[in-house]
Point group: C6
Chain length 76, copies 6
């Protein structure tokens, strides 16, 4: 089973969470060691600029997911 | 109730505020501890580059929201 | 009266100035204290990288404004 | 044989991996020495902000690949 | 006379130069003092990362200009 | 002869190389001295974050080039 079978989601909120997943998977491909990633998460989770940079990645991925879902226009 | 039921807003200004919400939610998912976030906000709110980086995230999210609302073309 | 009644502008130049306004408003929402913002502006206005980062935000917002105005195609 | 014969992929996951490839190829063009790249990878793979910056590049390339595949709309 | 009468240019190269102008104008609006800007330019023109950051702004503005010109499709 | 006669390329790989050219030309316009650029290239080519930042510019320019070529859809 693929970790990314589709870019479609039922709701905008689920789409935002998929954007978070995409952001984390990019890190995982580069740093496959889960223990190292856990240490790093503790570092950047208490640094304001690190969190902002992570939010930028999420925002970029959310653009992609939102476009793929035509902005959930028909969900309303 | 979802925190993001729709990307649609009545006005451009409400869309800008939704972009701010998206930016903050990405941080919240990564750093769920409200007290830590409050401390960090005080730090970055008095640092010019930190504020600019945060504005970049808002600008990116506003692109998504504005496109989802077809730039509020019919609101005028 | 909204500070952002519309994304439409008469001219490309006015659109660029609206992009500057959007960039500043994102900062204002995060740091509402005008005196703090004034101090910060003096700092980053004399730092090359800070100015470049601010230009990046403006460029991103200008993408949104230009698309909203269909690139002012009929203005020519 | 080109390293980039097409932007099309069978699945979203394969598209994400192509985005990773594009990100690495940009580095390879600038720093062709494989040994230097290997050393650098060890450095940035254990630095949270470096990994986030790399994720930003992947997110940007994934936007391109996803658009090229029309978001794999028919794959579902 | 506006410094930005139109986003249209005759050629891709002229469009790239307009993207450079947009990037510089964003700085000029924030730092209107020409002497300060001249000093800063000397600094960042000899710093690799500063130049890369400036190139990022140009790339973003070139996206806008290229879209406004429909990628100069008919110019070929 | 223009250094950028067209955004069209025969293949995706050639498009990627044009994105690299655009990235370098932005630097060249800001720092026209070839010797200074050569020194800077040696610096950033051995710094992981500098290379990642450069890849970000390439990714942004590749978005433009890929869109201009309609993602080379008919090349397959």
């Amino acid at each position: 089973m693929s970790w990314l079978p589709s870019l479609k989601t039922e709701t905008p909120e689920a789409g935002f969470e998929l954007a978070l997943t995409l952001s984390r998977m990019a890190v995982k491909y580069t740093q496959p060691d889960e223990n190292v990633r856990k240490d790093l998460r503790e570092q950047y989770a208490s640094n304001a600029d690190s969190l902002t940079m992570a939010s930028q990645v999420v925002a970029t991925n959310f653009q992609t997911i939102a476009a793929a879902n035509q902005y959930w226009a028909e969900a309303e």
